[in-house]
Amino acid sequence: MKKIKEPWVFIFIIFCMALFFMFIIFPLSNVLRISLDYEGTTSFRNYYEAFSKSYYRKVFYNSLLMAGISMLGAMTVGFLFAYLVINTNAPGKKIFRFIAMLPLISPPFVVGMAFIMLFGRRGLITNHLLGFLFNIYGWHGLFFVQTLSFFPLAYLFISSSLKLFDPNLGYAAQNLGGNRFHVFRTIEFPLMMPGILGCALLISTSILSDFGNPLLIGGRFDVFATSIYMQATVLMDVETAGVLSLFLLVPTLILFLIQAQYLSKKSFITVTGSTTQIQLKPTNPWVKWPIFISCLIISILVVLLYVAIIVGSFSKVWGVDYSFTWKYIKEAVIGSPGRALRNSLTFASIAAIINSFISVMIAYVLIRKKFFGRGLMDFLSVVLFVIPGTIMGLAYVTTFNVPPLVLTGTPIIIVISMVFRYMPLGIRGGKAALSQISPYLEEASMNLGADSILTMKNIVFPLLKSPFFFALLYTFMKSFTTLSTVIFLVTPRYSVASVYIINMVESGLWGSAAALALFVILICSILLLLIHVILGDKLQLFQL
């Protein structure tokens, strides 16, 4: 790393620092300020009052409980699938692998919505096939939905751990005299545990900050994300919303920091890096078949979720009249849901283009340059990803509806929220790619007569093409389906698809919601395919 001499790098860094201050530090500190504001004076009264109400204590416990049990559910299901696919010779492994990744094509709230379509009050299965009334709204329904929504993440992580684990390590330990159980206890378990724990924490933080599913399925089971939204928008009590935001932020940050600072450094999984597959010993059938059957049941459920959305898009009135209609599909193209869809596409495109340029450039300066504030910039760019979207939404809506910068009600703030929310994805991809590229290439270019700008143009940018496209497509997909932040920022005129779907589900307009969700799923699938084509098998990037 070299001290900066090029003026353009200097200007870019100042520009980014200003952006980070304006759109991260300033809005977040504003939330803190609001939470401390008690009738015009600064005090901890709001905190005290919130603590003293049993409702908020319950919200706190509910949130942690849900993050904990759903994480366990997701990890268990993820492990079952990973074990079945990687370590057994069960039939249909390819299908199971596909099913385990399928929920990635849709945002979590689509899983929740389809779940209601199947098991809700007028659910296809509960009401029509089984003919009984079953209340899914509450912690149990939410637990099922979050398990189904987040098990693909666990599957991706655990399966790559199992795949990368060098079986020779186990054989070496056996060769040195350890019995099978001893080897598992002293070699495999300690090597895989830090990584798996890290994954568990990541899933917990995702569930903790998820907004859509608690809103749809939670019923009276309130968690932080929904409670903040209700306080701020329905009850207009931003002070309490601010207090709750900090309650949510603190456990999220703690979980994240444990994961980032401690566990990721203790993960040894890729040390040997060997992917040679040694012929597996056949699994005990008493282990294999129960796992197979569990995975089969879950797979059928996952497939049913998507079938429900497809069928729902073409049914006249879900739950009442299942006769065929094009009405909702037409509406999703040319009607007002169509306008929300087009808004989503436009905003997400603009956000993704801005995002990919800025994030790859930030990755470049973070890896290659030395400057004052680099540590802070690096930290912010990582931590930004785990700040729950609800908090950012609250922060933006409270900060930018008053001077100096009034942006609420405009599409600009929606795009800005998308840019900053998913910037860490692009930065991370860029950093990973850059650390693979030798800095000597840039020196060689300069040595042959190119100044720093020409070196950027001729060497650095062409080599960063694939992280750039990854950032472009992935941040597009994420921005396209984001809900928790934009729900604070949209207006009837500038609504987006995700918010529109939620609103229609809440009004029971299943056909319109399903048709719009179907388009969202189709677009996401195409994007995922594109990413897969461009990046090959580097799908582990989804773990972030």
């Binding site: 060689a444 300069m446 040595n447 007569g449 020409l454 001729n458 060497i459 062409p462």
Partner: protein, 361 residues
Amino acid sequence: MSETHIKLVDICKRFKENIAVDHLSLDVEKGNLLTILGPSGCGKTTTLRILAGFEDPDEGKIMINDQLINEVPPHRRRMGMVFQSYALFPHMNVFNNIAYGLILRKEKKSRIKDRVTEVINLVGLEGMERRATNQLSGGQQQRVALARTIAIEPEALLMDEPLSNLDASLRSIIRIQIRTLQQHLGITTIYVTHDQEEAFSLSDKIAIMKGGRLQQVDTPWEMYHNPKNQFVAKFIGVINFLEAKIETVIKDDIILNTSVGRLTMFRKKGLEFLPGKNILVTIKSEGIRIKKRIKVSSSDNVLEGKVKQHNYTGKMVKYWVDVGGGITISVESFNPEEILVGKVNIAFDKFCIYPIFNKMK
């Protein structure tokens, strides 16, 4: 007499607490190949990077043709660098890698094509123009890196351990090719390596560095026969060291008193030997004969000893002979008829002993 082309004056470079280059002054003559030789961390690569402009010296002057170039940015220095890892651009084929510097100079297309073809022929890579760099062997990649650098007709060539990623047999072939090409082009070259054999076979002059400090600059011959201190001697492969006291000087013979007895050393010209002075001498292990019994002749130094260990490599046997007084002498016996064990005699004439003068202290 050739003139000084590149001149470093009193260069210092610190990285936080570490001093990488410590008051280094060095002259390189036009058309010469100078090797900077030293163990890892001695500052040799930093020196090269200072010349290329990738590092700024904290103190000192860098001159080319008597012009100060400290402030010239790397891309205008025309100090062609060949990197240890080659640093070939992975997204360009061989042709585009070599043409890169020429395109930047906005040369005409036809001129670029001619020049690239010319250097490709020079390094013997005909027909490889369209290959991707990852389809080349290590040796071929090395030659692309070299061709890319000489294509821009640099002021001087800087080579940073260019052969370290190649296997041993290829190394000795390519280093001859590099030397031939360098002499053919008459290009001033600074070559960094930690391999003394490479340094000896390539260089007009060798500069040995240790801990950022220059130890000695000399021709390979002088370096081997007149190392200025024990570090230099050890680094260029001298093993046997003996402390001695000068007893008397008889014409060209110097009689030394050592812990293994009295030895005769030939007087070197230009050096002063005063009786009574303590000096350090070395005995070249390749000049020592070893036998079960050796008849004593007047010009020989003969010692008795016991073989402690031997190492047979086919071409030779290397012995470690305990000659008493806590001293072990290493002997390289080429063309051996047998492998000796137990008690032996070793003999070496007075030309095999050299004094080492520790001028650095």
